[in-house]
Symmetry: C2
DNA sequence: ATTGACGACTTCCCTATATAATTGTACAAT
DNA sequence: ATTGTACAATTATATAGGGAAGTCGTCAAT
């Protein structure tokens, strides 16, 4: 208790004042000193209490607010937010970490050929059915073990000089680390569940019917035209998305 | 072009200056005026260009930076970030939206009984095997159709007054909207894939072996002790996680 | 009892200014 | 060639304060 009350900004620290105050308030909330629904001290009070300027306190409140820890209501005060499932966010960090370590991972090209677009592919890429696309299949290994199967359709259009660069980017390495000259503007991702087909099971060296993630992606260029559509298949045993909600000290 | 160059802060607008500038810069980036890797105008230049104070520009840069659109490097400048898969974040918004509309969704209690903890449950809840827990099974309907199956183990310990409140919170409604008096501090979530067992398939009125999401959760109280462990099962056909990366105007 | 005006308090937005920290360059000294 | 120094440009942090806008209670007028 007294520890929390005695906590103060250390002016000699390399840690900026605002960061220290974020830490202090977060810890106080985590310790239960302020519970969900409680009113935090007003900004003026925090200024006096910690000897910082209003702008600094505002900055701290803003940070806590878009961390989702508190919510500030004009004219009323700043309140501690309760635990909400909806605030949980999952990312691809775990998936990508596997592949970041170059040494342990490698990519095997299975196939790359030019083929007319099916109706479905044409729909996804906003082209007309029968237009030519480059179809690519890759197998990504981690520790000598196949983990990801990647299928992708890339628009084949010699009139677009972008294409060449796309192929680079789509070379996975670029996709993950983000090549600077990509010419890609945005992408849409979606996660589905599926069960492995016979072909997929063989490639991924596991059993048919096993549950798997399917990560679909579409990338668009600066004219908002789709350039590539594809998806990764990953057996469930190799992947898990995790998230945390609430306050962590 | 000229449109982008002529764009200015409207002082009479209700939209704050910082928000307007975020919008302006975002649109310029989305339009390809600044490409990945490019250097943005310096903060001083932006001040002159748009007639705002340095603090306001700093706020704008900060917002863009933690949106992942740009990255500011001290002493060098602010750069436009390339597209990176790792920045994609998925949330439970779609899942929860289904259940927010009270009218279309209802919860059916299947079971709630006190039972000794198995080894696995004890491990998850950090109690000793054989301790009593409350086991709960629920079925969540949306539009008269079963969508989610929920299983949960809650610690049964009369000496903890929290328990009573937990039961409230765990009453789903509270879980989603976040009861203010929850007494819960934090939670861990994980998404797995699985295939439906016979029992699950019957309850969810779909077929055995169908792929499904499994959303596991553990909630802890203010002493960091686990209070409840459980998971939702959702057939894949009803759920899809989506995310976007890149710049949206 | 209801309404309306006022004031106290709060968060929100913005300006103006100053100082520190980091980086890169140019140039002189070694 | 390498090193060191000085300088300019940049972002990062912080101070001090003012006005706008929202909320809530008080108190007088109706």
């Amino acid at each position: 208790m007294t520890d929390d009350l005695l906590s103060a900004i250390d002016r000699d620290s390399y840690e900026p004042a605002y960061a220290q105050l974020v830490r202090i308030l977060t810890r106080q909330i985590a310790a239960g000193l302020f519970r969900p629904g409680d009113l935090l001290p007003s900004e003026a009070q925090l200024c006096d209490r910690y000897g910082v300027s209003p702008m600094t306190v505002r900055r701290v409140i803003n940070i806590l607010a878009d961390q989702g820890v508190v919510i500030a209501k004009q004219g009323r005060g700043t309140f501690v937010k309760p635990l909400e499932l909806g605030t949980a966010t999952f990312d691809l960090g775990t998936l990508l970490q596997l592949l970041k370590e170059e040494s342990n991972s490698k990519v095997k090209f299975l196939e790359a050929r030019i083929t007319p677009a099916t109706k479905r592919t044409a729909g996804k890429l906003a082209i007309t059915s029968g237009d030519r696309t480059v179809f690519i299949r890759r197998l990504i290994y981690h520790n000598e073990q196949p983990v990801l199967l990647h299928r992708e359709h890339v628009i084949y259009d010699p009139s677009r000089p972008i294409i060449e660069a796309e192929m680079e980017v789509t070379a996975l390495r670029g996709l993950f680390s983000g090549g600077s000259k990509s010419g890609l503007k945005r992408g849409e991702l979606a996660i589905d569940v599926t069960v492995l087909t016979a072909e997929e099971a063989i490639l991924l060296q596991t059993s048919v019917g096993a549950p798997a993630f399917r990560l679909e992606h579409i990338f668009c260029d600066y004219d908002d035209r789709p350039v590539s559509w594809g998806w990764f298949i990953c057996a469930g045993e190799h992947l898990r998305f995790t998230a945390s909600i609430g306050v962590y000290e």
